[in-house]
């Protein structure tokens, strides 16, 4: 038996040796940490904000829409601590109650001295079960937790929670019938008695809310309210001046006070308010030991903050502030403020915290913006790496080269003029260098001053990120600095599960023309398409900026570059299947284009052919595919095409017998995955490989007892996708490679209409011992470098997986043929060595997507991983074969070279002398 163990051990070690010799290990050295990468941490759009400057440790406590609880330093805006909690409805923060809030004694956590039952902060999350947690806000740790499982989980979705006098109240409305109110001891979870049922036939969804202890519903021009903690359940009706035009909001900090039509209204007789104030956002706080209400409004780019004492409505002149507010922060609303407690304070210590429509958190103090947190970056939906512009001198050189290549035919005859041009360029260069040296040169441009000049390896790029809120960022990919930001209000992603898109219409290659990017989105109010054109280096609008289209966008595609401005036109298919091109002068290039649409709801795909005739574009539907099944039970869960900038360097794969297996490289191939419930197998997953030009289904494959989440990556002639196997309860990855066979149908031009109908399909499945959240392939300039698959996992790591390990041709039986082909013997479980984690210990919270882009170096691929955090790095799948190592010893090699040269000269001299001497002998 011991022998067997030894043998098994020997076998595994042999396997390991084999693996380590064939697979490139991409570990990072210790001194390279944070050298090529950076991470920025975010918390998401704020939902609950609470500033407390009078705590022994000033703090800003946050609960966000991303289900994160965090403490922010009020001075700098940096994260003190952050806890990323449960996702989706389960983690939805319903209540964030901070103990000892201001001087309202009812909110303190009354706990006996010496027990652990007090709390700094209490949160309620989710509805079934509702999790109640007490936090230590200094360390960010949970002190205690209890949960409530409601009897009726559906009704509990609309439940409200509030905290009053050490009791936590759970309010479950049954619409148009009654309210169920249960009180719990906040810290222990014991109920105080039975659930009280309050008959209230007037409650309706959408029009009711909770303000302090009051349950308030809007009914036309009336506010009907009920104090839930009062002894008598008396319904109070408050008449409004006019019907509320916007959503009624509760004012935190005051019991029974609401904001209706920009005015404060109290439904609580004990609480008086200043009803003359007019503002879009209010916050309650304390100043000079008196309760005040502050309000902030944006008017023509100037943010004005004012405040009034609550008791006599007199204004507080010390707190009046006004400052210019950047348009790209969005519309602010005052969420919380606090001042240092002093007698006769001058208001300079007051910190006002705003959340904005662009999902930023802005802190204002002493008439200026103290800090800004760009929380829109927690929801990146698209990203592009843009080459930086050339320095001016290089630009002129580039222009000269271009001029030469354009009239290549007239080159021979034009030697004299070409020579002249060269001489003048160099003269200009020398002149500019001279002027620069004596300090008379032209002032550097904005981009040059910001250090935004292309480096020799093309590793320094502008990272343009498009976020869900419509905010766009231009970030330096080396240092992570935000160079510019833009905000597009009123845009949303498309229907059919499609996000907004960021498109590069012109790259930086066409000096002196500036690069051009376009955002394609949907207008929030009309549902029509919106285009926004801008320069991705400066972040300024270009070509007229915003363009409101008068149709809905169904599909878009990019056209080839159009003369004379090298802009790639955008081909848009509208809801009525008409096509449009932007810019207009590229219309002609749309002739002969193919488009396809995939409807997620009906699981139908359709193909269109675009024709240009008589100065007009028309579409012809040419194919349809129905993946819906017999009873429309199949739903599309993933669609994956190939990257349009991909180059495939190698057309085939050399087999063990030195013959070539040609790859089936079809750029028009799209993988579609559908899911359907199944009587026998619970859930089945179908993969379809569809040629979207001819509309033919190239291959179909079925997984049984398998369900989403599905993540897919499709490149060259291969495909890898991950899914959850319900039967064995683990995540698996299936890989597919397509081959044409030993002969190639057409080596020069690919035509989908003449393609081989049945390519060879190699397939294999692997177990991956982690939960996959994102998949992406690495991409390089020429496609010579090996392709690796970047696997983003649920615990925030990115694993660089060589294709050799995912290869479906890994032989099960260890044959010599497989060995000679360079394939590793099949092992069902994929290894996840820690040295392949490209983000080592820099965990990316809620990793959602990975984007890759080629750099100027063939070996290197730029990577940005997005989620709650942002992580930017670079990877070299085949190691940096075209780059000297950083610790390359230049001195040693120079010394060796000099020594060798001088040595050979000396030896030559000596040899000749010796020969001469010999000749004389």
């Amino acid at each position: 038996m011991a022998d067997a163990h030894f043998l098994a051990g020997a076998l595994t070690s042999a396997m390991l040796v084999l693996l380590s010799t064939t697979v490139v290990v991409n570990g990072l050295y210790e001194d390279q940490i944070k050298k090529f990468d950076w991470r920025s941490m975010h918390v998401g759009a704020a939902k609950h904000i609470h500033v407390d400057l009078n705590h022994f440790q000033p703090r800003l406590l946050l609960g966000t829409h991303e289900q994160v609880v965090a403490s922010i330093c009020p001075k700098t805006g940096e994260i003190g601590w952050r806890q990323v909690l449960e996702q989706k409805a389960r983690g939805d923060i319903k209540l964030l109650q901070v103990s000892g809030f201001a001087d309202d004694s009812s909110d303190t956590a009354a706990a006996p001295v010496g027990t652990h039952l007090g709390f700094d902060m209490l949160t309620v999350q989710g509805h079934a079960p509702a999790l109640v947690r007490g936090w230590n806000t200094n360390t960010g740790t949970i002190e205690w937790e209890w949960s409530v499982m409601p009897l009726n989980t559906e009704r509990a979705q609309d439940a409200h929670w509030f905290y009053s006098n050490s009791l936590l109240y759970h309010v479950v409305p049954t619409w148009r019938s009654h309210l169920e109110v249960t009180a719990y001891f906040g810290t222990s979870g014991h109920t105080t008695g039975s659930t009280s049922k309050i008959m209230a036939a007037w409650i309706k969804p959408e029009s009711c809310l909770l303000s302090g202890t009051f349950f308030v519903c809007v009914d036309g021009k009336q506010l009907i309210s009920l104090d839930l903690v009062a002894k008598s359940t008396q319904v109070i009706a408050t008449t409004l001046d006019t019907e509320p035009t916007s959503k009624v909001q509760a004012l935190a900090g005051l019991n029974g006070v609401l904001v209706v039509n920009r005015k404060l209204v109290s439904v609580n007789k004990a609480q008086t308010v200043c009803d003359t104030l007019q503002s879009s956002s209010y916050a309650v706080g304390t100043f000079n030991y008196r309760k005040i209400v502050a309000y902030g409004d944006l008017a023509e780019g100037v943010l004005k903050i004012k405040a009034a004492y609550l008791d006599n409505c007199a204004p507080v002149p010390e707190l009046d502030q006004s400052l210019t507010f950047n348009a790209d922060y969005g519309t602010p609303s005052l969420r919380s403020f606090d001042c240092k407690l002093k007698r006769n304070g001058d208001g300079k210590s007051c910190l006002f915290v705003f959340s904005t429509s662009a999902e930023s958190i802005v802190a204002v103090q002493q008439n200026r913006v103290r800090w800004v947190r760009e929380e829109a970056l927690a929801n990146v939906v698209d990203s592009q790496f843009i080459d930086l512009p050339l320095a001016d001198s290089e630009g002129t050189l580039e222009n000269e080269m271009k001029g030469k290549s354009v009239d290549a035919t007239g080159f021979e005859t034009d030697i004299a003029s070409a020579f002249l041009r060269r001489i003048t360029t160099q003269a200009i260069q020398i002149k500019s260098l001279f002027l620069h040296v004596i300090g008379l040169g032209p002032p550097p441009t904005d981009t040059q001053r910001a250090g935004l000049v292309r480096d020799s390896f093309g590793l320094h790029k502008m990272l343009v990120l498009l976020t869900r809120s419509g905010k766009i960022f231009g970030i330096d990919n080396i240092i992570g600095k935000h160079h510019w930001q833009l905000y597009l209000p009123n845009v949303v992603g498309f229907g059919n599960d499609e996000n907004m898109r960021l498109i590069v219409q012109r790259t930086s290659k066409h000096f002196p023309l500036q690069p051009l990017c376009t955002i394609v989105a949907k207008d929030l109010s009309t549902g029509n398409g919106v285009l926004y054109r801008f320069n991705p280096i400066t972040g300024r609008a270009a070509e007229g900026g915003l363009l409101q289209l008068d149709y809905q966008i169904k599909q878009l595609s990019l056209l080839p570059e159009a003369e004379p401005d090298f802009v790639k036109g955008i081909l848009l298919l509208d809801a009525t299947n008409k096509v449009h091109v932007h810019p207009k002068h590229a219309t002609q290039l749309a002739d002969g284009m193919y488009l396809y649409t995939a409807d997620v709801k009906t699981s139908e795909l359709a193909g269109y052919f675009v024709k240009y005739a008589g100065e007009k574009l028309s579409t012809t539907p040419i194919w349809t595919v129905h993946l819906c099944g017999h009873n429309n039970e199949q739903k599309i869960v993933a669609v994956a095409g190939k990257s349009s900038i991909e180059h495939v360097h190698s057309q085939g794969r050399v087999l063990g017998d030195r013959s070539v297996l040609y790859k089936y490289i079809n750029p028009n191939l799209v993988a579609v995955i559908t899911q359907a419930p199944d009587a026998l197998h619970k859930s089945i997953l179908n993969l379809y490989l569809i040629d979207v030009v001819s509309g033919s289904i190239v291959f179909t494959m079925t997984h049984r007892k398998v369900r989403p989440p599905v993540h897919i990556v499709h490149s060259e002639n291969w495909l890898a996708y991950s899914y959850y196997n319900d039967k064995v309860r683990r995540t698996e990855i299936t890989t597919i490679e397509l081959y044409e066979g030993k002969t190639q149908a057409n080596s020069s031009v690919w035509s989908s209409l003449k393609a081989p109908m049945m390519p060879l399909v190699e397939r294999q499945s692997y177990i991956i011992p982690t939960v996959v959240e994102a998949l992406r392939e690495t991409i390089t300039e020429r496609g010579i470098t090996n392709k690796h698959v970047l696997i983003g996992t649920a615990n925030g790591a990115i694993i660089e997986m060589p294709w050799a390990l995912l290869d479906p041709r890994r032989p099960i039986a260890s044959t010599t043929q497989g060995r000679e082909e360079g394939a590793i013997p099949y092992i069902p479980e994929l290894p996840l060595p820690t040295e392949n984690f490209i983000n080592y210990n820099q965990t990316i919270a809620r990793l959602r997507n990975i984007y890759t882009a080629p750099s100027g170096l063939e070996s290197t691929c730029l990577v940005v991983a997005t989620g709650l955090d942002l992580f930017v790095t670079r990877v070299a799948p085949s190691k940096t074969f075209d780059l000297l190592k950083e610790d390359f010893d230049y001195i040693l090699i120079s010394i060796v070279l000099v020594a060798l040269t001088s040595g050979s000269l000396i030896v030559r001299h000596l040899a000749s002398r010796k020969l001469l001497k010999q000749a004389w002998k």
Partner: protein
């Protein structure tokens, strides 16, 4: 006796096709073909009928009507403009459900192949048709006007091919464990035999020796000079 055989065959069929339990119903699927050969792009005229007794066996019977001269002229015109020959396919399942597919191929290649075409029917995993694709058997990519204007015959010669869905692989843990066991046993018995050739086995020893011989030979030659 005959009855017995029948049962055995049935059983074998089932064993072979258990994966396609959905398709086991003995069902006649009717596929109606309409081609778009008129000036009106929305109008499709009847071309023929394909009856598939069972999608599983992929047998089919075809009935197609001959191409009219006027239609052939339209087709030739389409080919000259490099247009599409569009086919509307109506699939009628035995349960009365109807689905309409659209497929197209270049009119020119249809003419070049002298109306020899293929109808690929892709059958999804639960036995429904997910797409119908029309292609023609023509090799050349360029459209040759001479060929298309001198076409013989006006009858379609169609092959109907059915593509089935396949079953995805599962991670082969059992196979891997067996392989490891086998190798272990072989090792215990001392039967690990290397059946590679002599050179492929010992090349790493031979090459340096040969190199050495060469180098020494070269230096000797120099010395001999």
């Amino acid at each position: 006796m005959m009855y017995n055989y029948f049962i055995v065959i049935c059983f074998l069929l089932c064993a072979a096709n258990c994966g396609w339990s959905y398709l086991e119903q003995d069902s006649w699927t009717n596929v109606e073909l309409h081609h778009g050969l008129s000036s009106d792009p929305e109008h499709f005229s009847f071309r023929g009928n394909v009856t598939i007794p069972s999608l599983n066996s992929a047998l089919s019977s075809l009935h197609q009507i001959e191409l009219k001269t006027s239609e052939l002229n339209v087709l030739t015109d389409l080919a000259r403009q490099n247009g599409f020959y569009r086919l509307k396919v109506t699939v009628m399942y035995p349960n009365g459900k109807k689905q309409i597919f659209l497929t197209s191929s270049k009119a020119c290649s249809l003419l070049q192949s002298e109306l020899n075409d293929i109808l690929w029917i892709s059958v999804g995993p639960s036995g429904f048709i997910s797409s119908v694709t029309h292609t023609s058997l023509s090799d050349s990519i360029e459209c040759d006007v001479n060929i298309i204007e001198h076409i013989q015959g006006q009858e379609y010669n169609t092959d109907v091919l059915v593509k089935h869905s396949e079953l995805a692989p599962m991670p082969d843990t059992a196979g891997f464990i067996q392989k490891v066991e086998r190798e272990r046993e072989a090792r215990e018995r001392g039967e690990v035999r290397d059946n590679r050739g002599f050179f492929s086995k010992y090349w790493m020893y031979i090459v340096p020796v040969v190199l050495l011989v060469f180098i020494s030979g070269a230096t000797n030659q120099d010395a001999a000079k």
